[in-house]
C-alpha cells in the first residue's frame, strides 16, 4: 500500500498556518492540539500493523503543522477502520477517530473523495439505505415469512442532505 501523497517524498511540504485553526473549530477536531506524539495510537492500530503508510500519529502531527494539502490529498487517510482502539487508549484524551473523521470530511469538501463514497452517498440519497435491495430479495423475504423492509420517506432524506451540505459534497444538490 502506498500513500500516493501529492508531490514526491523529497518535495517540500506546503504549510498553511491557518489550517490547524480550521480543524480545531470543526466539531470533532477540537482535541487536535493536545496530542503530544506518544505514539500509543499507532502502536495500537490494526491498520498500521499491516500498512506501510498509515500512521495515525503522523497524520495528527502533519495537521498540527498545517500540511493541509499533504494531509487532505493523502489516500491513507481513508484507511482508518474506525475501530476506536486509539480513542480508548489515548492517554491524553485525543478523540483520534473524530479528528481523522474531521480531516476526511474536510478532504471531501475539497473534492478529495474516493469514488466509492460518492457512489454510496448517491445510493443513500436515492433509497435511504446503503444498498439497493433487489426485488428478488424482497420476494425471498416474503417466502421466508420476514416482514417487508422499511421504506423511508426519501423527501426527508433529501431535505437533510441539502441542509447538512451532504448533497453538495456528492454533487447532488437540489435546485
Amino acid at each position: 500500500m502506498t500513500s500516493e501523497v501529492k508531490g514526491g517524498a523529497n518535495e517540500p511540504i506546503r504549510i498553511d498556518t491557518k489550517f490547524k485553526n480550521i480543524v480545531l473549530k470543526t466539531p470533532g477536531g477540537e482535541t487536535l492540539k493536545i496530542c503530544f506524539q506518544c505514539g500509543t495510537c499507532t502502536s495500537s492500530c490494526p491498520i498500521a500493523k499491516i500498512s506501510d503508510s498509515y500512521r495515525p500519529n503522523q497524520i495528527i502531527r502533519l495537521a498540527q503543522f498545517g500540511a493541509k494539502d499533504k494531509v487532505l490529498s493523502s489516500k491513507t487517510l481513508w484507511l482508518c477502520a474506525a475501530c476506536y482502539t486509539c480513542v480508548d487508549r489515548c492517554p491524553q484524551g485525543v478523540e483520534m477517530e473524530s479528528v481523522i473523521r474531521t480531516l476526511k470530511n474536510l478532504a471531501a469538501k475539497e473534492g478529495y473523495i474516493p469514488k466509492i463514497f460518492k457512489d454510496l452517498g448517491l445510493t443513500v440519497l436515492e433509497t435511504g439505505f446503503l444498498y439497493r435491495i433487489q426485488q428478488l430479495r424482497s420476494k425471498s423475504r416474503e417466502e421466508k415469512g420476514l416482514p417487508t423492509l422499511p421504506n423511508p420517506k426519501i423527501e426527508d432524506v433529501k431535505k437533510l442532505a441539502d441542509k447538512t451540505g451532504f448533497a453538495a459534497i456528492i454533487g447532488e444538490e437540489s435546485a
Partner: protein, 300 residues
C-alpha cells in the same frame, strides 16, 4: 419503558447479505419473549457516510431515534455498526445542548424533533440484561458438549467506551457468558479484540483480508472448531471471505462461523433449518450434527 418490547432496527447489510442473522434472531426473540416492532420508516444508521459528512450521518441517526421516540419504544439492533452509530448519537444529543440545537434545526425541516427519551440496545445486551442469563439458561434443552468456540465481539459493540455501556472494551464478558450457557467452551486466542477490518473493505480489500487472516490463524491455533459473531459486517468477512482468504494465503481453516442466536437456538433444541444455518458459506453441518447427536445421547 418496556424491557421486553423494542423498536427493531434492522439496518442495511443484514437484509442485503446476511439474512440468517435476522432469521435466527427473530426465532430467539419469539421464543424468549422479546416483542419486536418494525420501524417501517427507518433509514440508514448514518455510520457509512460519516467519513464524508458527519452532520448528515448524525442527522440520519437522529431521524431513526425520533421514529423510535414516536413509537414510545427503546431501539434494538442486531448490527454492531448500527448499534454504535445510534447509541453514540443518542448519548451525544442527550448530553450536548449545542449539538442538539443544531441537529434539531435540521430535523425541523422534516417536522421531527429529538427529545431524548429512549435508549438504544444491541440484541446481545437485551438477551443478557432484559431477558437475563438465568432465564435464558432455562430455555437450553440440548447443550453442546465438547464444542470449543472462538468469540469475536466486533469493535462497534465495545468502543468508543465512553458512549457505550457494554463493559470493559479490553476485557469484555457479556458474550462469553451468553455462549457458556449453550454448553460451548470459549477458548482464548491471540489478539482476540483485534478489528476484522470490514469497514474499509470498499477502500482496500487487503485490509480485512489481512487482518481477518491473522485472526483465523490464531483461532485455529487455539483449537476452536467454530467462531461466534454478533455483527453482520464481521461475520461477512469471517464467513463469506474465508475461502478467499484461504486462497490468498494458500492456507486452510475450514472454520464455520455462527451468529450467536444460531448457536443459542441449536442449544434450545431448534432445528438448523429454522435458524438458517444452511445459509452460512462455510458449512457448519458436520461439526454441529456430530455435537448435537452426542449431546442427545449423553442427555438420554
Amino acid at each position: 419503558m418496556s424491557n421486553s418490547k423494542f423498536a427493531f432496527f434492522l439496518g442495511c447489510l443484514i437484509p442485503f447479505r446476511e439474512a440468517s442473522y435476522e432469521i435466527s434472531a427473530r426465532r430467539i426473540a419469539g421464543a424468549v419473549g422479546i416483542d419486536l416492532v418494525e420501524m417501517t420508516d427507518a433509514n440508514c444508521c448514518g455510520l457509512p457516510i460519516d467519513p464524508i459528512n458527519h452532520d448528515m450521518a448524525v442527522a440520519l441517526a437522529a431521524r431513526n431515534l425520533c421514529i423510535a421516540e414516536s413509537m414510545g419504544l427503546n431501539i434494538m439492533t442486531l448490527c454492531n455498526g448500527c448499534f454504535g452509530s445510534l447509541a453514540k448519537v443518542n448519548k451525544e444529543l442527550k448530553e450536548d445542548r449545542a449539538l442538539r440545537e443544531k441537529v434539531n434545526g435540521y430535523l425541523k425541516e422534516i417536522s421531527m424533533e429529538f427529545k431524548g427519551n429512549i435508549e438504544v440496545k444491541h440484541f446481545i445486551e437485551v438477551l443478557a440484561e432484559d431477558v437475563g442469563v438465568e432465564k435464558l439458561n432455562s430455555f437450553v434443552s440440548r447443550p453442546f458438549i465438547d464444542l470449543k468456540v472462538a468469540e469475536h465481539y466486533g469493535c462497534h459493540f465495545l468502543r468508543p467506551h465512553k458512549y457505550l455501556d457494554t463493559g470493559d472494551p479490553e476485557n469484555p464478558e457479556v458474550l462469553t457468558k451468553l455462549i457458556e450457557i449453550t454448553g460451548a467452551k470459549v477458548v482464548d486466542y491471540l489478539d482476540e479484540l483485534q478489528c476484522c477490518g470490514g469497514t474499509v473493505i470498499a477502500i482496500d480489500e487487503n485490509v480485512p483480508i489481512s487482518l481477518t487472516r491473522d485472526k483465523l490463524v490464531n483461532i485455529k491455533k487455539a483449537g476452536a472448531e467454530a467462531i461466534v459473531t454478533i455483527c453482520p459486517e464481521c461475520h461477512m468477512i469471517f464467513d463469506l471471505y474465508q475461502p478467499r482468504i484461504e486462497k490468498t494465503f494458500s492456507e486452510s481453516y475450514g472454520l464455520p462461523v455462527l451468529y450467536y442466536p444460531q448457536l443459542l437456538g441449536l442449544a434450545m433444541g431448534m432445528s438448523p433449518e429454522d435458524l438458517a444455518v444452511g445459509e452460512l458459506r462455510v458449512k457448519a453441518d458436520r461439526v454441529l450434527n456430530r455435537l448435537i447427536q452426542k449431546a442427545r445421547s449423553q442427555l438420554a
